[in-house]
Symmetry: C2
Subunit: 325 residues, 2 copies
């Protein structure tokens, strides 16, 4: 397998241990090779129903960003319908003490795992997926030979948000892109709308990350550049809130001088004082479908990998308006 990835055995070992010493490109090459070759399971043994724990592990990625709450409600509802109970663990909190949420949940004897959102534990997920039913919700990574994926339509969601800005009259649009596959899909949606609107020359893209800090820093770079964009689509709500703070610090009024759009329609976007235009990613439906998939996969671990895409809906609030002429 190391040969297939064109890398050394020790690099594979480092990546599978989740080492921070390995750069993104090499890490990605190894994980793709693992998915293609290394860990493809023989058909997993079905656990007899009487021996199941009736619990399911849920791996969260960051409790500070409340984007996952509706997803978790949908998931809990579907799991309950299937006679299972979710147990939660947060990767960020566990990794601060050098532990893995995936391992903690697996050691606990869960019947299956739901990975919620872009995870920092890709290698651990890949390793357990050979022996345990896994469903990804709100993320497409890591690629699993026998895992189901439930995501919202990120391309369409980002495209509709960008079209909203173009319809308002914006001509200098910017995107604060996020990490991973989901970041690439939302960027693609933004680009499709920009190209379709004939605004290819005028748009800008900068790294916005998925935290308030990174959104603030990215927006600051965009807003101090020239020409200044009149509208920003951020990767998610919390980065969009960072962008709003950057605008406030620079004396740029939202929405009069700058429109800002988030993504995920979290409780943060819905706070009246923020009133952030955002893309509702249908997270309750994402979670509910992920729960149904996992219940089915626990009953029959040899099911082929499935993918389900939930439609999105733009929610227009107070942070978007026509640009000043």
């Amino acid at each position: 397998m190391a040969a297939a990835a064109g890398v050394s055995k020790s690099l594979v070992s480092l990546v599978l241990q989740g080492s921070a010493q390995v750069g993104e490109a090499r890490r990605r090459a190894v994980l793709d090779a693992v998915a293609d070759l290394g860990y493809r399971p023989t058909r997993p043994a079905q656990v007899a129903p009487a021996l199941r724990s009736r619990t399911v592990g849920v791996v969260l990625n960051d409790l500070r960003n409340p984007w996952f709450v509706d997803l978790l409600e949908g998931l809990t509802t579907a799991l309950d319908g299937g006679g299972s109970t979710p147990l939660l663990s947060d990767s960020l909190t566990m990794q601060r003490v050098g532990r893995s949420s995936v391992r903690a949940l697996v050691d606990c004897g869960v019947d299956g795992l739901v990975v919620v959102g872009t995870t920092s534990e890709e290698a651990a997920v890949l390793a357990v997926a050979a022996d345990l039913p896994v469903v990804l919700a709100g993320t497409t990574e890591p690629r699993l030979p026998l895992g189901d994926v439930v995501v919202n339509d990120d391309v369409a969601g980002a495209r509709s948000a960008t079209e909203h800005l173009i319809e308002l009259g914006h001509r200098r649009l910017a995107h604060l892109r996020g990490p991973g596959d989901i970041g690439a899909l939302r960027l693609q949606g933004f680009r499709e709308a920009v190209d379709h609107g004939g605004l290819t020359a005028g748009h800008r893209v900068d790294a916005g990350g998925r935290t308030e800090e990174s959104g603030y820093a990215g927006a600051r770079r965009l807003l101090t550049g020239s020409p200044r964009p009149t509208a920003i689509l951020a990767f998610n709500d919390i980065a969009a809130v960072g962008a709003m703070s950057a605008a406030a610090d620079l004396g740029i009024a939202v929405p009069e001088e700058l429109s800002v759009v988030g993504y995920d329609d979290t409780s943060l976007a819905q706070i009246r004082h923020l009133s952030l235009t955002s893309v509702d990613n249908g997270n309750f439906a994402v979670g509910a479908q992920a729960g149904r998939f996992l219940v089915e996969r626990i009953a029959d671990p040899s099911l082929p990998a499935r993918r389900f895409i939930v439609p999105t809906r733009l929610v227009v609030r107070g942070t978007t308006a026509s640009p000043r002429t």
Copy 2:
């Protein structure tokens, strides 16, 4: 026991099942009687170390309010130091499908339970506390014969926040009070500062709850009354953000025409765009101490009940200023 509480057996039964049909006062009477008389455990059996699961259940109260994140980090660190792993469950999410987080965690075989914040599962906590080590973190309820309590100094925290407002020159102060024991303690701190400042006649108190919605509604009542307060101390950050939204909707500028103070110093308060003055409740320390208590109590369930109080610190940000003269 029903006789001791002055209520019927069927009422006790309803309360212990967590029925929503029972009013607050009667529920409280029953739970107090349960704590005093009914469920006082004989010295719980110590589980042999080899038979322990090395997992601890953590009962969260509402994932939408990120106040507990630092507490969870402190808790995870201390549990890890004691060789235990936290498993999380959220009461609000579980109760939406008619389930109990407490039961789910106990059924999973955890060695002990940490109840984080004011819980909606008091009866279930009381019921399991007879057989399982329990520690309360950030809440004093329900009263447990053999459970430890770790809280911040709510009286001192609310008093220091109120003194800050008085020092800024505010004379018409209002408090949006929250539920339960913690609500009563923060109200006491507010009242002590108001009385000490000779402002007893000018202050007002209204129910503010612990959500954005309830904070919004409470602040709206205060701000449309006469005379209008120039400063509001809310029960927590998210209710304070609701109060900021109410002010914005009424065209009242924060902090020029209204100062607002939250409590908990959550990630919400720290968002630059909100920049909310708040009380840092030392939550990392609260969580760490709760973890240490639980590790000790699992080793020796007969330890007497202990209480640990963590000092608070006022964090002044952009929502407080001197009133317009």
